[in-house]
Assembly symmetry: D4
Homo-oligomer: 251 residues x 8
């Protein structure tokens, strides 16, 4: 559209129907996005396969349904995060075509096919304790929505380091690692010491007392002695998967 308007304007200039001065003035007031960043949101999704995302917390089932319905109609990939079981049931009573990923607390319009040629390798999602799994699953399902191959390695917290060491081949085989941990958040440091790959650490709000809703884990990860560990917000499995997706995508 905007591009068409610009083209139209230039054609008018070329045709001598629009003096240069008036064209200059028009361009002066045209929206900045017209040239350069136009339609970024839409284009980006089309180009990269990023789905439309609905942050479900604090939204009613009706609100979530309304947004996803529109997306379902256009056939676009869509996902909603932080949707508890009850709310998901309510949404699905309206839109039965949606799929509910219970542990990930996510609703999707389905998962896209994976084209291995477009990926560097597998994304390995590692979690420390069973309570961290919802966040790990949010990461795993989001990565799958981004058409990324995902592997899971759960319940390998540092207090039983042998469980992790016993499956080191999974670490060796992955292209990108997402490491999810609550409490003291030490797992990314240990994993980061074993591999030399992109590693995204996700602190979770699991714990009590001085865990401070995930701050202890977050600080642990930011101060990791393993160089090259990067961190996302507390419980942000979604964001970690987005980051992993940009890394794993073969461009």
């Amino acid at each position: 559209m905007e591009k068409q308007e610009l083209e139209k304007l230039l054609r008018e200039v070329a045709a001598g129907r629009c003096p240069v001065d008036r064209a200059l003035g028009a361009l002066r007031h045209w929206p900045g996005e017209m040239l350069g960043c136009a339609h970024l949101d839409h284009q980006r999704r089309l180009r990269t396969g990023t789905p439309e995302v609905v942050y479900g917390e604090g939204k009613s089932a009706e609100q979530i349904g309304l947004i996803m319905e529109k997306l379902l109609e256009t056939g676009e990939m869509a996902l909603a995060t932080r949707v508890d079981e009850e709310k998901a049931a309510a949404v699905r009573s309206i839109l039965p075509g949606l799929i509910y990923h219970q542990q990930a607390r996510m609703l999707t319009t389905g998962l896209p096919a994976i084209d291995p040629a477009r990926c560097r390798g597998k994304i390995l999602v590692i979690s420390a304790g069973t309570s961290d799994e919802p966040v790990a699953e949010e990461a795993a399902v989001t990565a799958a929505c981004l058409a990324q191959p995902v592997e899971r390695l759960y319940d390998v917290g540092v207090a039983g380091i042998h469980r992790l060491l016993g499956r080191r081949h999974l670490l060796d085989e992955a292209a990108v690692l997402i490491v999810v941990a609550g409490m003291e958040g030490a797992l990314p440091s240990v994993v980061g010491g074993l591999v030399d790959k992109p590693l995204i650490a996700v602190p979770t709000s699991v714990g009590y007392g001085t865990c401070f809703g995930g701050i202890a884990a977050l600080l642990g990860m930011l101060n990791s002695c393993a160089p090259g560990v990067t961190v996302v917000n507390i419980d942000n499995g979604f964001g970690a998967a987005c980051a992993a997706g940009t890394i794993n995508r073969r461009t």
Copy 2:
């Protein structure tokens, strides 16, 4: 289980059915540090070209010199971070072969040659204000030490967004972005909204009052509304470059 497998293997060796070499190889892939992470530090550096790193803060010129001398002798790549000008001069009076990167506050044994075939693309280091440049330079020089091609785009803070928009082609050409900002730390959000690439945000301690030595910027980055932004510790240009290196390396 594992014990039984091990026993079985040993019996095969004892019976001459399994040559020692194959047994060694098998054990090589067995769970554990026994063979896999022994010498890990050394092997990793050799394989990936990661230099030996000395964290210079709180170390005397003598201590830094001592460590780097040993590394110089072996011809290995080495770098020291957080070395102020005075201390650097003192170290270089002992080891004149070292190079001092003034703005990055780093000492190196020199920078390795870059093999483009082993890299996905360029690492673009972006900084918000002139005071953020030491951290940005720590990232840039570290990346260069890791044999990565580096581009710099400095002083493009969000309060003058046109400066950034005016050089969007640099963003389009990079494979990985490191975005360094202090104060409110908003730059990664804006950059993250313009591109769809791996982006590592580095908060700096630049600012005063409620910047709290970088906490304001850190929180801004962790809460970025641009999905896929990952974050490292305050002023941790080194860590950001390590992460960018693992991402940009073609494996």
Copy 3:
């Protein structure tokens, strides 16, 4: 009243019915507000058109109704903030004359007419994300209650900077800006870099994890690299509108 008492006293002195000593003593113990700050609250509201304000959080529907009823009777402008839908319905079942502004979560006795001659220009309320709109609406409706012309520019967060740039004329046309943002709170910095006008930043509690209920956004705004940005309390749309009103009022 007090003024009348004072006048009466002075007349008694003038008439010689009250000796100077007794007048001195009386004045010595008279309330301080009599002279200077008398009737400040009431007078201020009359002079400036500031409505009577009820902070609805933690008050029952009955309590809110009771206060607003008295104000309705005197015909004065009144507003109640932080009234959720259920509570609003309960209040309106008692006082059907009240208007409920759903998204702003406010009850008003109606909005006053705007006298453009008494205003410098328009107050533009900008918000970053859809979740920030309740706070933005609290600002917008409060400003309207203060007889200020209001324009809205919503959902123009920094991660899609083109949406903002595309409507720059709104920024150019406004006299005062209120910029509402949660998460990393970067929008005021970007807007503040585009205009040279009074800009009041409102952090919202939107976000999770390290957003810390709005602290991340607040710190982002306090540390804004755009000079001249001022900040109000988290979620304080009301306060921002009061400040904008004092700025926009032509005196």
Copy 4:
């Protein structure tokens, strides 16, 4: 410049020397600032009289001198903040034309003439204690640099409320108020209860123990029960003056 390039391009199109397609492509890659936000920094300063600003903390006398020398040459208004006495002397030994405002800890190229017709009224800078005066002076001198008429009312802290009440006429006469206070930061609340004008509160780091370097004052101001108070960063007299300048400017 950019405008000229654009004009040139359009003229080529008009002349038929450049086909529309090529023009479209060229525009596609042109810097964003060309259209809309071009030369913002420079233009803004010219239009508004905002001086070039150097944040002196952490910069050496040489660095400050270098920047200001260039500005002095162009005859532009320039100011440097947070310059202690010793550093100022060093800078002035190089650039004797600079003026040092000792209490404000600022260097300026001089103060511009004030055009009352372009101002709404006076900016009144109020401070609570003698220790708050450096920040108050930073605000006052900055405002003067912005060609704003400034009045000072110092040492009127809330623990001696009569001192403030005794000079209420100053409050009545001002167009904008900057209220500077450390410790408990209560002064803006009291002043805000006495007037109905734009009021910018500046917390200072004055105090000890639980003042936490100005956080106590900042929180006090953010939670002010006087509606319409806005706040800037701790010790940010400069920012408060910038905000006051945009408010007081008659446009």
Copy 5:
């Protein structure tokens, strides 16, 4: 009791029925309180008229009832704090003799008579806003339970300083002041600047956002520029009244 045991032991020693060694051994293992701090709790209450106190939060109506029943039987003065209306009704359905002080959220066995001869003067309880009244009332009713004469001065927050100044005689007449305020907590500073008496400041959790549940007010009070202000815990009207009681008691 213990004293009697000790006396008995000494008499046995005096009578030669208990050798010194055995007495020494017995004393060696006797409880410490026997000598010096014996019966402290009980004696203190008797001597000072301090009632038995039940902290109601987190206790069920049954638990509160059980404790107070025992106290009612012995005819001792008793009070329970933090009892909401519903819980109070449940307790009173068991113990109809109890009195519920609704705004103070307290249950008492009744209020003792006041003996002016045993008091230095009146305790004046001042509060800033209507939302602070529950805490102010907790202080006032507790003081009354301690047989102290209490005066109330409510809703005189600093944003309308004239309301306070208009009733300065109340300040002049009181012996001890309790000043209750939320939000920025500035009232104690202002009151402390007007009088020269014992002043106990009580921060309340009233406010939102950066009030941080009373921390802003607490910090404001701890940093009060009025010397001699002392502070108690957030919302601790009870503790303030206990402190005021020990001060006002004529011994």
Copy 6:
């Protein structure tokens, strides 16, 4: 090195010079999890009598029941912490064999017999106030589950120091002390000054306002002036008992 040793060992096995059993034994002591920490969790429990632990908070009755059922079947000792009364009833309706420890909010499969010969002495659990008892009981019941002899000394807070002094013999008789306190958390300091034994301090979240959910108590304990006090997480009675168990165990 290790690799060479391993190779050498394998060659000895291949040559028949080292029997498989001895090789296994040698490998048993080799670094690593391969043989040493495999099955660590299980072995540790068997060896030390540590029960299987279920952290009940955030788990449904069904989830808790499912896990404990499996453990009940194998006859292993099991315990679940943080189970409120209602949830416990639901679990016990499925598994009536479980015992509910109401004040400790724990479910166990029963308590093991105590073998005094394997213990150094008694674990004394001390608590400051009645509200701290649930945490104290969590410690006491956990210790009992670990087959440790437990003594209780409750409600001996520092504000009535005679209550503690009166029962000093209990302190003298214990081998390990667990001291549980909320509010200011001063009790461990006082107890630590009276004895010279292992003392584990447990802060509780009891209190309001600035107790910050146990942080005040935690800080008090970490800063204890009694040397040798160690601390666990807020409300972590379970962890304190585990630590006390490792200390009291005679090995």
Copy 7:
């Protein structure tokens, strides 16, 4: 003065030389302090014997000398706090008449005579550790400057509770207690459990790590389980003495 002006005005009114209207107008603009709070600072000091106070931190020896010289001349009592030994020597080289109280880090013009008839009793200053003594001495010397009888009881921290208990008679004899403690700040709780008197707790910044410059002690004191304890700012011995002075003064 102001009173004289008022009197003069009233006399003019009485004499008919000033019409009532003009008098009303004049009074309308007169300073608020004229009536009621006039000369508060000065009068208060005269009436209560409060000395003029100089907060020495951050002031140069010259500045301190200048202020105290003026006070010395008028013969008024004056004191300066937070003056280290070196600065004190510099001040005394100018004003040899000043007395330096080394441990209290204070300069005074001398200590006033004590009139027992005007005091309720003694102020007892208690400190926990030797490092707390400077703050304790600041309290003690300030109290002496206020003409209050002072007793000292130092080095009686809770980790050696017998030291305190052994001198309980001092507690029994005092009228007001100031209790100074760093680290965990538990001493006020213990003392508050032994006596029933006004007790002002002073946290000190003594300690390291999580003492957080006195926050641990402050929180401990605010959460004291001994009712009636009030608290002042960290290291604020001066403020505690002022509060104690207002309590101990017989009016």
Copy 8:
């Protein structure tokens, strides 16, 4: 002494020279420590071999020398912590008999002989990084001062987990573990997962940015998923050794 006084009193009673009433009165006012906690400090040191401790930070060389001289004379074991090299040299120029433990930053009168029969086993001090060694050494030297056998295992941080696993036998052989770590503080969790022994975690202030002077490590340790880990204050090697000493002592 006191015991003798008590004995004397009882003998007087037994001899009839002191009536029971007078004895009662005398006992009523006798110091509390007389019975039970008498001479606790002194006796404890004698009994347990705990040395006299001087906290050197903030004390001058003269002050340290003065205290230690007295202790040297009596031949008692003494130690001073936090003494930097320069200060130590100054002390030793006065008291050449003292030994300076450079890395531990401690001065001692020498180390006592170890009696293995009085110890359960060895105390193993583990540290994560080279920067943590001063704190580890403070623990190790303190333990040695307590006549405890000490083993050291340094530089085995979690980012190179194989270094720790490679020396597991040291873990197996120790009776008590002290684990010292800065940055993310993950080492205690990993060690705690490998052994089942008393483990005292010591966070250090090593790190930068969000390590917050050791808070990140402290939180990591308090939230350790390895049950039974207890924690001491940041950098408190001394306290950890005291705790380890009470555990390791065979009583």
